[in-house]
Symmetry: C2
Subunit: 246 residues, 2 copies
DNA sequence: CGCAGTATTGAAATTTCTCAAGCCGAGTGG
DNA sequence: CCACTCGGCTTGAGAAATTTCAATACTGCG
């Protein structure tokens, strides 16, 4: 193991996984231990790099340790539609455990570090521990709830869409303990925000401008800062209910 | 039991449930039997009636026997956004088994018949039979895949959106054995289609007109007929991969 | 027959996108 | 240290898409 790899090891991967699952249910000490001792391997990914591609049959489940990952569809036209954004503690392709073929791709939005859990041992553990199985199931259900919100973006104004994305990201960052004060990481260009929200880059810019001028948020150099949470929530019509915080 | 209720009984609910799950995995005879003998009660619902509301904490899981159910969000503005459409064999609120509070509502699009399975015995069965647990988990994952497609609608033209919805509905109806020739039920008004696709009723009308004039489909009196499946698939950019047919 | 909800059509108003050009800031190399 | 370059942000204006408005048919049902 190189010095570099050892540096990486400062992340207690098992602990992160356990704490994430604990947010959504009780686990016995045994279960926690079994979870924390699952085999995995670390992997660094660079900004823009793909981790899984549409059509793949993954044999590992990814846990984000650092940075931001995203899922996306590629349309026939070549256009890209981002489906969800994932921060440290998320497992973006947990579904691959049960759905063999990927219907979308997963990529890194910035330099990231991930843990890859082989499906075999994970699946075996879930088979034996129904509590864990339900907990992981639940994680994918929360994903689905977030997808539903993204669908509803269709019915929101541009400003509300953007505000909603900001609310969601900041809320989740805070929930995971990843926020610093009223700021969190959001390493997306206006083009990428557009591909996530289904709007042109210029429309993103103008919506952002409005939010900025209303002194609700600021987004620069990949960092999102919230100046008026209440105002932002109102502008977005944000209701954290759907994130199902226990 | 009234004569009417007996009429309802012609549905073999257990069998429907088993066949649905079998589409996505192997079950032992024992498992099939346990599934088929789960307790439930029947319920008739009228067109437009709500079955579960945003904020509810359901204690039953719904299986559609007849008719069409839909999930929807209600926005602060009062606007409605349909999230998914469900036909006989679907379990629209399976997630409530794991997520206590509903983040959306479920309603009937036409007169429908549903079976309601109390959470208790169902959960207990899934706890004991990991195979069944994985199978049901899988059903919710396919839901999520459909949600993802709906997000991507953002990036599609109006015509492609509508075409995609038609493809999806017909494909699923066929998969479930609910299609009659090249036709299937789609009991939605143009307004409702608009609320599902995030477009105004008039835009739905014009998109529909194009598809009709291209002799791809026809939609009248709640029945969708496909005249040119290949052409429709092309117009939609439809790839059934995401429905994860085993 | 007539009502109520739905579909159809045209035209105006609005939103959103595309195009085009300038600006800014970080990193590069002379 | 400074010009240069590149990607991303900003701004304006015209083009295109979409929605709203308004008015007329159509359809199933009581």
């Amino acid at each position: 193991m190189t010095g570099h790899d050892r540096d990486i090891e400062k992340f207690d991967v098992g602990e992160l996984l356990v704490s994430r699952v604990l947010q959504h249910g009780r686990l016995t000490a045994t279960e926690q231990n079994e979870l924390a001792t699952l085999p995995f391997r670390l992997r660094k990914v660079e900004a823009g790099q793909d981790i899984v591609l549409q059509g793949d049959r993954p044999d590992h489940a990814v846990l984000v340790l650092k940075g931001m990952l995203a899922r996306y569809h590629t349309l026939a036209s070549g256009e890209r539609q981002y489906l969800s954004l994932h921060i440290a503690g998320d497992m973006p392709d947990l579904q691959s455990l049960n759905l063999a073929i990927m219907d979308h791709s997963v990529c890194a939005m910035n330099d990231a570090l991930i843990a890859m859990f082989p499906h075999g041992p994970l699946r075996e553990l879930l088979r034996q521990r129904s509590t864990l199985c339900f907990a992981f199931w639940r994680l994918t259900l929360i994903d689905a709830a977030i997808f539903r919100q993204a669908i509803t973006n269709n019915a929101r104004t541009h400003v509300a869409r953007l505000a909603h994305l900001f609310c969601e990201q900041f809320f989740r960052a805070k929930e995971y303990g990843l926020a610093e004060g009223n700021c969190c990481s959001l390493p997306l260009s206006q083009i990428q925000l557009g591909q996530a929200l289904g709007m042109a880059q210029i429309s993103v810019h103008r919506a952002l401008q409005r939010l900025r001028r209303a002194r609700l948020v600021e987004l620069k150099q990949g960092t999102l800062c919230i100046h008026d949470w209440g105002g932002l929530v109102r502008a977005a019509g944000f209701d954290p209910l759907f994130l199902h915080v226990a």
